[in-house]
């Protein structure tokens, strides 16, 4: 089993590349979701402020 993960002494290179890829994908998802949420909140706040004025 550990031999499978050792990748013939290239383990550090191979696994860091796969780890980095996973990290970038997670960042892309989280970043997108956060931005959507913040835009949603801003727009809601703005609409509420406008409607309570009138």
């Amino acid at each position: 089993m550990s031999e499978m993960f050792a990748m013939g002494n290239y383990g550090a290179y191979v696994w860091s590349c796969f780890g980095l890829t996973l990290a970038v994908l997670v960042i892309c998802v989280v970043q997108g979701a956060q931005r959507h949420k913040s835009v949603l909140n801003d727009v809601k706040t703005r609409i509420r402020a406008m409607e309570s004025d009138t």
Binding site: M7, Y10, Y13, V14, C17, L20, T21, V24, H36, V39
Partner: protein, 250 residues
């Protein structure tokens, strides 16, 4: 056809439809990438020259391919937006840019990590493939900086579209750099005369990851276009009705 297209490009319709479409991209994307990565790491035989280090190809090639594909999506959408004045097109271009920058960064990083054991160096400044790829990262940054620098959204759309289209010149340079100049980087593995240069046990996981990453890109870009549309349409009636139904003022 045109009525269908106009309906699709209408922001409220797009906003509703895209939410339903995201899982259709995300689920097959995740399945393909899980299979491709597992098979690439554990089932494919080691390369006779590079040993297990070659397995980096399963993330490096999809990242590099997507970095350029995303650029083409960005430049073509920006061009369509510029010529036909379709706002949704500009939204697609703006949404694609940060994803493209991330994929470019990933391609550069995984390439560098792969280069260390194979070429004996993390980076080589004179190398045409490496430097043209790095240039693309800066073009993405420039595009995003230009958009944030211009307050008027119409002007930002137009100016950034011109930048995206001019920067597209770099794409064929990246692609053909390994043929036109001498480079440390190896030549094409998949798209070459005589077919792909690898046996199917190595090839199928790679194709699965390339297609899978493309699906994931589809899901990610759809999500970001929704955010763009919501922001651009924030003063419109349909957004108000969608966010605060029944005149809810709380």
């Amino acid at each position: 056809m045109w009525t269908w297209f106009h309906k699709l490009a209408s922001p409220p319709h797009f906003y509703r439809l895209s939410a339903k479409m995201i899982p259709w991209f995300a689920v097959p994307g995740i399945a393909l990438v899980v299979y491709g990565s597992y098979a690439g790491l554990f089932l494919a035989p080691a390369d006779y020259q590079q040993g297990d280090a070659f397995r980096i190809i399963y993330v490096h090639v999809p990242a590099a391919y997507l970095s350029m594909m995303t650029y083409m999506v960005m430049a073509i959408s920006a061009g369509i937006g510029l010529i036909w004045r379709i706002k949704l097109s500009h939204a697609v271009a703006a949404a694609a840019a940060p994803l493209g920058a991330w994929f470019t960064f990933l391609a550069l990083m995984t390439g560098s990590i792969w280069g260390r054991p194979m070429w004996g160096t993390w980076w080589e400044w004179g190398d045409p493939r490496l430097t043209s790829q790095l240039l693309m990262l800066f073009i993405y940054f420039g595009y995003m900086a230009l958009r944030t620098a211009i307050d008027d959204p119409l002007k930002a759309d137009r100016a950034s579209a011109v930048l995206a289209m001019v920067g597209a010149v770099n794409i064929p340079i990246i692609h053909f750099s390994v043929e036109w100049w001498s480079s440390l980087h190896q030549g094409a593995t998949l798209v070459r005369e005589g077919g792909p240069a690898m046996p199917v046990e190595m090839l199928y996981p790679l194709l699965a990851n390339i297609v899978g990453f493309t699906f994931l890109f589809g899901a990610l870009v759809l999500g970001r276009v929704r955010t763009e549309v919501l922001f651009r349409e924030r003063r419109k009636r349909w957004v108000r009705n969608l966010l605060l139904p029944d005149g809810d003022l709380e």
